[in-house]
Amino acid sequence: MPELNYVSAVNAALHRAMDEFPEAIAFGEDFAIPGGVFTASKGLRDRFGERVFDTPISEAAILGGAIGAAVRGRRPIVEIMWVDFFLVALDQIVNQAANVRYVSQGELTAPLTVRTQQGVLAGSCAQHSQSLEAIFAHVPGLIVGLPATPQDAYDMLLSAIAADDPAVVIEHRSLYFGPRAPVSVDGPIEPVGGARVRRAGEDVTLVTWGAMLGAAVSAAEQLADEGVSVELIDARWLAPFDTATVTASVEKTGRLVIAHEANVSGGFGAEVAARIANEALWSLEAPIVRVGLPDSRIPAAPVLQRALVPGAEQIAAALRETVAVPA
C-alpha cells in the first residue's frame, strides 16, 4: 500500500481514472504541462498526451466544454483552481450541467467531474478563502463531496468520476501537503455517498466534513480526556447526504454538534440540523449546536483569520456546552 499525502492521492486517482476510463479527458488552467498549481495533475500530460490539456483562464469555457464533451460521450475531469473562481461560471454548473439528465428524461447525461479546492489558509485573501459547499449542495442534480483524508481524496474522486452525473469534489488546500498515510489504491471504485464514523462514542454526536475533520478529532480527544465520549461522523458527501448514519447516532447519543469551516448562516450545517429535527427530534436531549465561521467576510492577515476561523477549541467548547444540558 503506497504512503501518499492528500495531493498525491488525488494525483494517483487521476492517473487511475485516465487509465480505466478511455473516454476520460482532463483539463483546466495550468493543469497539464505545469501539472497544476498544487501538483495534483503532475505527470498526467506525459502519460496521457492529448487527453490532458491546459486551457485559457475561462471558467465558463472549461465547464461548458466539459458539458458538451460529456453529452457527446466523453467523461471530462476538469479543475476549477479555486472554488471562489467557480462563481464566475456558475451558470454552466447550475443552469446547464445539473439540468441535462432531468430535462431530457435521461436521454442525455453529463458524466463530468469538477475538482476544486477551498478554505482559509494563512494570508489567503477574501476572494481565495471561502467555503462554498452549501451553494453546490443546494442544486438538485449535482453530486457534492468533500474528502478529508488521503484515502478519501483517492476514493471519492474516483467515485465521482465513475458516476454518470455531474459531480463537484471540493478538496481543501490545507490538506494537500499533510502527512502521508497508507492509501489502498487497488480496491473497487465505490458508488458515491456514505458517511464514515471516524470515532465511535456514546455521549454526543459530532458531524463534520472536509478539513474540519482534523479539528474535530482533536476536540473529541480533548473531550475523551474529560470523560465525554464523542461519536465523530465524517459526512464525506453532502449530496447525497447520509442522513441515516447521523440519525442513528443521534438516536443513541441524544446530542448533536455540527462543525464546518463555512460561515454559519445558510451553511450545510443548517440542513443537517433540519434533517435531524425531522428524523430524531424526540431523541434530542439538548439543542443542536452549529460551529462555523461567524457570518463575516474573511480577512487576509493570519492574526485576523485566527480570530474568526473555528478550530478544535471552539468545537470542544460546543461539545461541552451540549453535554452540560441536563437530559
Partner: protein
C-alpha cells in the same frame, strides 16, 4: 440526414437551385405555420409560459441545417422551435412539448424554451443567453477524440455576442481549432433593445478577426446564402481548421416573446421588414423561376395539412405524466 420536410415539392422550378429553393420554402413554411399555431395556442391558454417565436428568421435554421450532417451536434437558443423542426424533430412532439403533454419531446420538462432531441442531432435550446456556446465547443472537443468527424453548430442572437460565455467559447474554440460554427442570428434587437445602441460597431462578424478566425456576414433571409456560408464553415471545421463566425442578418417580425408590446419599434419598421422576409422572397423567386401558382398552392396546402394534423394529435394526447416527475435526477 433526417429530411427537413415530408413534403415533396411538386413542379419546382427547373434545375438543382430551383428544387433546393422549393424544398427550403416548404421547410420554412412548415416552421412559420408551426409558430403561428403556437401563437394561437398561447392566446387560447393551451400553451402556458413564456414563448419566443422565430417568425421571420426561418431561413437561418433551414439553410444552416442543410449544410450539416446527421452526425453533427446543433445547439440553439430559446428561440429554437425552427431549429428543432429543421433538424427533423416531428412537429407533433414539439407541439406536445409546448402543450405539456406526455408525447412532448421531453415529456413536458423542457417547455418552449429548453427542449432537446439528441437523436435528431438537436442538443437543445438554451434559455440562458449565450449559455450554449461553450457547450457546443465541448461537443466539438469530443469529436477530436472519438474519430466521428462530427462538428458542432451553435446559434444565438446577436445580443449574446455581449455575453462573456460567448467570448470564452470563441477563444476556446479558436485556440484549439475546434470544429464549431458560431451562427449569429442578427435580428437587430437584444430582446427589446436595439443592438446598435449597445455596441460601438454593430458589424459583429468582424469580431471573428480578433480571435484569428474567419467571419462572414450573409443575408439571413436567404436560406441558400445561409446554407452556402455554413457549408464553407463546415468544410473548414471538418478539416480541423477551426471555428467560423457566420453572422446572418434577419428581422424578427414579432415580439421578443408572445405578449411583448413592442413599444420600442419604429413606425413602419415591421411592415417594411415583411416585404423582405424569407417566405415572401422565396415565394417570389419560385414564381419567377417558373413554378406555377397552382403547384405553389398545392405545396402550401400540404404543409398546412401536416401542421394541422400534428397539432390535432398533440392536443389529443395525454397530459405529462406526474407520476414520474421526480425521476431522472440522477443515474
Amino acid at each position: 440526414m433526417t429530411p427537413t420536410t415530408t413534403t415533396t415539392p411538386a413542379a419546382a422550378p427547373a434545375g438543382p437551385a430551383g428544387a433546393a429553393l422549393a424544398g427550403q420554402f416548404a421547410a420554412m413554411l412548415r416552421i412559420r405555420r408551426f409558430e403561428e399555431r403556437i401563437e394561437k395556442m398561447r392566446h387560447a391558454g393551451e400553451v402556458i409560459g413564456s414563448v419566443h417565436l422565430c417568425i421571420g428568421q426561418e431561413a437561418i435554421p433551414v439553410g444552416a441545417r442543410a449544410a450539416l450532417e446527421e452526425r453533427d451536434a446543433l445547439f440553439s437558443t430559446y428561440r429554437g422551435h425552427g431549429w428543432a423542426l429543421a433538424c427533423g424533430v416531428p412537429a407533433e412532439a414539439l407541439f406536445g412539448e409546448l402543450l405539456g403533454k406526455r408525447t412532448g419531446v421531453n415529456g413536458g420538462r423542457g417547455g418552449s424554451a429548453y427542449f432537446s432531441a439528441p437523436s435528431y442531432g438537436f442538443y437543445g435550446e438554451n434559455s440562458i443567453v449565450g449559455g450554449g456556446a461553450p457547450i457546443a465547443a465541448g461537443a466539438a472537443l469530443a469529436a477530436r477524440y472519438d474519430g466521428s468527424g462530427a462538428i458542432a453548430l451553435t446559434a444565438f442572437g446577436e445580443g449574446a455576442m455581449n455575453q462573456g460565455s460567448v467570448h470564452e467559447a470563441l477563444n476556446f474554440a479558436a485556440a484549439f481549432d475546434l470544429g464549431v460554427i458560431f451562427v449569429i442570428e442578427n435580428n437587430r434587437y437584444s430582446e427589446l433593445t436595439p443592438t446598435k445602441d449597445m455596441v460601438r460597431d454593430d458589424e459583429l462578424w468582424k469580431r471573428a478577426a480578433a480571435y484569428g478566425i474567419p467571419g462572414v456576414r450573409v443575408d439571413g433571409n436567404d436560406p441558400l446564402a445561409v446554407r452556402d456560408a455554413v457549408a464553407e464553415a463546415a468544410a473548414r471545421a471538418r478539416a480541423g481548421e477551426g471555428p467560423t463566425v457566420v453572422e446572418t442578418m434577419t428581422e424578427r417580425l414579432v415580439g421578443h416573446y408572445i405578449g411583448d408590446g413592442e413599444a420600442y419599434r419604429q413606425e413602419g419598421e415591421v411592415a417594411a421588414a415583411r416585404e423582405r422576409e424569407p417566405l415572401v422572397v422565396a415565394r417570389a423567386a419560385l414564381l419567377d423561376g417558373g413554378m406555377s401558382a397552382d403547384s405553389l398552392e398545392e405545396l402550401v396546402t400540404s404543409v398546412e395539412a401536416e401542421i394541422d394534423a400534428a397539432a390535432a394529435a398533440a392536443l389529443a394526447a395525454e397530459p405529462a405524466d406526474t407520476t414520474t416527475v421526480r425521476e431522472h435526477l440522477h443515474a
